[in-house]
Structures are given as C-alpha cells and as structure tokens.
C-alpha cells in the first residue's frame, strides 16, 4: 500500500511540473495563438543563469527569482523581436519560428555552459515520512508551489480586469482591440507569464535530474500530452492533464510494464481524445462559414 502511495505522490510531483509547463503553453496559446515550442529551451537557459547565481553563493531562493526574471525578459524579447513582426494568424510560421528559437537557445547553452550535466540544489532539503513511505520535501514543495501558482493564475484570469482582457483577446484579438483591450500589451503579459511559469517548473524539476541543455525536452513532450488530454483551451485542464500524465506514467511503470509506460499513457490519451476531441475540460469551438 505504501508503494502505491509513493508511486502516486511521486507521479503528482512530476505531473505538477508538466502541469506548470502546460499552463505556460496554454496561456501563450490562448492570448496569442502561438504554440511555443521554445518554452522549455528558454526556461532551461534561465535555469543556467540561476545556477550561476547559486555558484556565486547567493542562495537558491535568489536563483529561483533570477530564473523567473530572466525567463520573463527572454519571453518578452522573443515575442517582440521574433513573433510580433509575423502579424496575426500566422500559426504555422510562428510555430516554426519558436522551433528555431528553441534550437538557438540550446546551442547557446551548450556553447556557454557546455553539455556536461550540472547539479542544482533543491529549494528545500530533507525528507518527510508519511506512513512507511519517505518523500523528499522538495517533491512536496513542487506540489505546493505548483498548486499556488495555478490558483493564482486561475484568480488572475477569472477575477481581474487584466484576466478578462486576456480572455477577450484570446477569443478575438481584433474585436478585443475594437472594444479597447490593448491586445499587444495583453500578448506581452501572456508571454511573460507563460515563461515565468515555465522557469518556475524548471527550477523545481532540475534538482531531481540535473541540469543539461535538453533537460526539459521530455517534460515538454508530456506537458503537450497533458494539455491535449485536459483541453488545449482550458487552463485548469492543462494542469489536471499534466498531473494525470505524471500519475499514469508512474502507475504504468510500476504495475503494467516499464517498456510500455509511454505506450500505455499515450494510448489512454488517444482513447480519450477519440471520445472527446476537445479534451476533458476543453470547449468545442465552432466557426461560422
């Protein structure tokens, strides 16, 4: 029983990271119609800056703040210099652009910091005993921080004027602009927020596995699975989808087969999408022709 508990909690901790990444993807997608494939690489670059902060003895807390700030600035720079000039409605061009940015970010990381993995200390050390299972305090911290971040984003989008503006821009940037919503400002905020969340996910995840140029490639893949499972247009769907993927992959690895862990998880995702194409929490969109 304690094994099952451990497997589930560990899966939730992994899934919380996928959920945060997925949330960042969905916020940017909803506000600007851009699927940001560079999210993970840019967040990774920010974590390398955080590593430099730690190496200078400024503490992990300062490193987390530095990572988020760097990611926000990077997000704004890429949005203004690379994505904005494309104009609106250039979904595939923007997608290719973000892929290019991702490759450039990885090349910069490899060139500046090398390809050898580095250790980043956890935000909190120590362990917690729950029954006969031992959990890393960092894992519980990941779950807690992710939950707080998700609730804060939920509050922002449903209870504030800015959130309303972002939702309006997501529905139709042109219409929103006509009624006085500053679409460009909203887009900038969405990119900053999305990258900030991704950097937060990265600094929480990296202490578990080590920091390498492509460390977030696999979590990004699972975050995408999570947002499709939860619904591409739903913020809480992205989070729940990510957590579901994290738990399912651990359960599959432990009780089905390690070999078919991903197969099992993605087969289930495909099955759900066949039954409900908009995902578990997404809404079907209709276009007038």
């Amino acid at each position: 029983m304690s094994e099952l508990f451990l497997v589930v909690v560990s899966g939730i901790a992994s899934g919380a990271v996928y959920g945060l990444l997925g949330l960042g993807l969905v916020i940017i997608y909803r506000a600007t119609d851009v699927v940001n494939f560079a999210l993970a690489s840019m967040a990774t670059l920010a974590v390398y800056v955080a590593l430099m902060v730690v190496q200078r003895g400024l503490g992990v807390g300062s490193a987390v703040i530095a990572a988020v700030l760097v990611a926000v600035v990077l997000g704004l720079v890429v949005r203004e210099l690379v994505i904005r000039p494309l104009g609106t409605g250039r979904l595939f061009a923007a997608l290719v652009m973000t892929m290019g940015v991702s490759l450039i970010a990885e090349a910069v990381i490899s060139d500046v910091w090398g390809t050898e993995p580095h250790a980043l200390p956890p935000l909190v050390g120590g362990t917690v005993m729950l029954g006969s299972a031992t959990l890393a305090t960092q894992d519980l911290m990941v779950i807690g921080v992710s939950a707080v971040a998700m609730l804060a984003v939920g509050y922002l989008f449903t209870r504030t004027t800015l959130g309303s503006a972002m939702r309006a821009a997501a529905e139709s940037a042109t219409t929103a602009q006509i009624v006085g919503v500053p679409a460009q400002r909203v887009a900038r905020i969405a990119w900053a927020l999305g990258l900030g969340l991704a950097a937060l996910a990265a600094v929480l995840y990296v202490p578990r596995v080590g920091l390498a140029p492509t460390v977030l490639a696999a979590p990004l893949f699972r975050a995408f699975a999570g947002i499709f499972l939860g619904g591409l247009t739903s913020m809480h769907g992205a989070v729940i989808g990510g957590v579901a993927i994290g738990v399912l992959e651990n359960l599959a690895a432990s009780y089905v087969s390690a070999n078919f862990r991903d197969t099992f998880v993605f087969a289930l995702t495909i099955l759900i999408l066949l039954l409900r194409p908009q995902g578990l929490f997404g809404t079907r969109s209709f276009e007038r022709v």
Binding site: E3, L6, V7, S10, G11, A13, S14, A107, S110, G114, T115, E116, P117, H118, A119, T127, A133, T134, L135, A136, R208, V209, G210, A212, P213, T214, A218, N250, A253, S254, S257, A258, N259, R261, D262
Partner: protein
C-alpha cells in the same frame, strides 16, 4: 558554332572526375600516399552537438590534449599529428558525410577515436570496405564488430557485455547472492543486463537475479526503488546512463535502500557523483581506465595536459577516455617503420602486443583478436571521488 564532340566528352569527363572526387572516391588500398614527411593526417567523427555531445565534447578534448602534448614533444617519430574532427551529431547520415570528407577530401590515413556505434556502422561500408581505411580505437563498440575479427577495425574498450559480466563477478566475490538488475528497457541495455545472471551463476552457482526494467530517460525512480525493495536482493546492478544512475542512487537513498550498488562503465563518471551528491558515496562501478585522481606519473601527465591544452574541461573519466584512445594510437603508430599509410597502420595494430599507456589496460592485438582488451578497473566513490580498487581485472569468459 557547335561544340566539337571531343570537347563535349572532355567536359563531361572533367565533370565526372569532379563529382567522383566530391563523393570521396579513394584509391583502393586506403588513404593517401605517404612520403614519410609532413604531418600524419588522421580523423574522427564525434557528436559535438545534440544530446550525445555531453560525452562527445570531453572525449574529443581529451584526445586533442594528448595529441597536442605529443606534438609539443616531437610527434610520432618526428612527425606531427593532424587530427581532424567532424561533428556527426550522432546521426548516421551525417557520419557518412563526415567519413566522405575525411577520407575523400582530407585524405586521412585512419579514423581514430570515432564515436557512435550505430552512426559508425553506417560509415563502415565506405570507410572499411570501399576506401580500405582502418577505424581504430573506436569509442564504444559491440561484440559483432570483433567476433569474428573484421579487417581494418580495431577496438580498445572492453565491451559492455564484458563489463556486465565483470560487475556481476565483483558483486558475487563481495558476497552478494541475490542480485537485482535495474536496466533501461531498449534491447541494447537489456542485452547487456542479460549477461549479469549467467556470469553471476558461473562465479557462484545458485546466485539468483531479478530484473527491474525501466524506461530509457526515466527521471522518477521511486517506482523502481519500490520494486528493488520488494525483490529482496542483497546487491543492485545498474545498467543505466550516468544521469539515470544518479537519479536511482538519490531515490534509493531517499527510501533508505542501502544495498551495495554496482554499475557498468558509463556510470563511472563525474556526472554520477555530481548529480547524486552524497547518495553516490560507496557506489561501485567498473571502468575502462584507471581513476583520474590516481597519483601516478602517467595520470599526472593527463591532468597537466588537460590543464594546458583543454583548460575548460575537467580532468575526469570523460576526457580520460579520449586521451587513452589517443595514447594507444600513438604507441602503436610509433612502431611503424617507413611510410605511415592506412595499410601500415592496420599492420601495426595487427601485430601490436603489450601496448602500455599507464592510464588504460595494456592492449594486445592479433590477426584473430582485434579487440585489445577485456579488462576493467574496479572503482568506488569515496569522499566524493572515484578511487581505484586494485589493478585492472579481466572480465570473466562469457558463455
């Protein structure tokens, strides 16, 4: 005025010649002619970009440091070494392209210290068979490359299967009777892990083995550690890449699993210690080379060479492996009397015995055996550093 047919034919012939040259056609018999002067041109393809660059870059820097050191100390019998490296990004297509450039355009006489088992195999037909250029001291390799011996292909690293047998032998000699093997699930890992049970059984009949496969790229080892606990073993054998081995060690320490743990050579790495931190303490691994922290003149020369020629790189296993491969090549090339050609290099390898570098096992080759060693060095993490345990030991014979 219409061009004359002979002019058109000449132009066509010229174009064909250019195309053939660009395609890397090389005279049978291998590489360029050698007049006994000028640098000895050799080459390699190594992943310098992409995920495999983590091992490729330090491997290249280690070899480069050794060749630079040799060049500054008179070269090979008075001749400088010109080692040309191409990035293959661990991609078969790019490897073939790199091979064509090295053999066809750069006219290298041998491929030395190349990296990438599957990518290199893609280049074998062109390099070994068509161009007759030897590939020596390859980084990694598989049993089918050397059994039976393949013309012009010579290896210097103990095979993964032999490493697995050697770690099983070590665990059993240390008293373990129930081994739990945690391995990645792709066939390449499963085949290596599959050598542990038979080797342990041969060492001590009655030893049992339980396999715990995990997905390649696993970062959350909590489920695997639970399975290890449930298996009730008395030693754990890891057939995982270094970052995953580190993640396992951390998860095991967290769950209070303190069984003796052994790994194969890829885990004998600075990465394991860096990422696992205190959880790596006491971890055992077999290694292809001596511990880079040893206080011997040869190892001091290695550390000095890295500090001088590759100052941005650590003097650890990752650089030492490339350095050792370069050292084996130089020791064998020194024995060549006369022109250094593809053929003379292959001949020199075929008769090389007792090749000493001081950092890797002594190597011996023959017409029947193109793999220079089956030895490993036992190493253990103590106080955050890899420490050698005794001298090199030979891997037990596999069934």
């Amino acid at each position: 005025m219409r061009p004359r047919p002979t002019s058109a034919l000449a132009a066509l012939a010229a174009v064909l010649a250019i195309v053939l040259t660009a395609c890397g056609g090389s005279p049978a018999g291998g590489g360029a002619a050698d007049d006994g002067s000028g640098p000895i041109k050799i080459g390699a393809w190594i992943p310098l970009s992409g995920p495999q660059a983590a091992s490729g870059v330090p491997q290249m820097e280690g070899a480069k440091a050794y060749f630079s050191w040799v060049n500054d100390h008179g070269g090979i019998n008075g001749r400088q070494i010109d080692w040309i490296v191409k990035d293959n990004a661990y991609d078969p297509q790019q490897t073939v392209q790199a091979a064509r450039q090295l053999v066809g355009q750069e006219n290298v006489v041998a491929i030395v210290n190349a990296n990438g088992v599957a990518p290199s195999e893609a280049a074998f037909p062109f390099v070994l068979e068509q161009s007759q250029v030897p590939i020596v001291d390859h980084y990694g390799g598989i049993a089918s490359w050397y059994t039976p011996s393949r013309p012009l292909l010579f290896g210097t690293q103990t095979l993964y299967e032999d490493q697995a047998a050697a770690m099983a032998q070590w665990a059993v000699q240390s008293g373990a009777r129930k081994l739990v093997v945690v391995h990645d699930d792709p066939k390449a890992f499963a085949d290596v892990a599959g050598q542990i049970g038979p080797a342990a059984e041969r060492e001590q009949p009655g030893v049992t083995t339980t396999a715990v496969p995990v997905k390649l790229g696993t970062t959350d080892f909590a489920p695997a550690v639970s399975q290890v606990k449930a298996a009730g073993g008395d030693a754990v054998m890891l057939v995982l890449p270094a970052p995953e081995a580190a993640a396992y060690l951390k998860a095991a320490a967290l769950q209070g699993v303190s069984l003796p743990t052994y790994g194969y050579a890829p885990t004998a790495s600075g990465t394991t210690v860096t990422l696992a931190g205190p959880a790596a303490e006491g971890y055992h691994s077999v290694s292809l080379v001596r511990s880079p922290t040893e206080q011997t003149p040869e190892m001091q020369q290695f550390r000095d060479a890295i500090a001088k020629y590759s100052p941005g790189q650590p003097a650890d296993f990752s650089t030492l492996l490339g350095y050792a491969n370069a050292a084996v090549f130089v020791e064998i090339a020194k024995t060549i009397q006369g022109p250094v050609t593809s053929k003379s290099i292959a001949d020199a390898y075929g008769r090389a015995s007792d090749v000493k570098t001081g950092v890797a096992p002594d190597m011996s080759f023959s017409a029947q055996s193109h793999l220079g060693t089956r030895d490993v060095q036992r190493v253990t993490v103590r106080n955050g550093q890899w420490v050698s345990e005794g001298d090199f030991v030979s891997a037990p014979e596999r069934g």
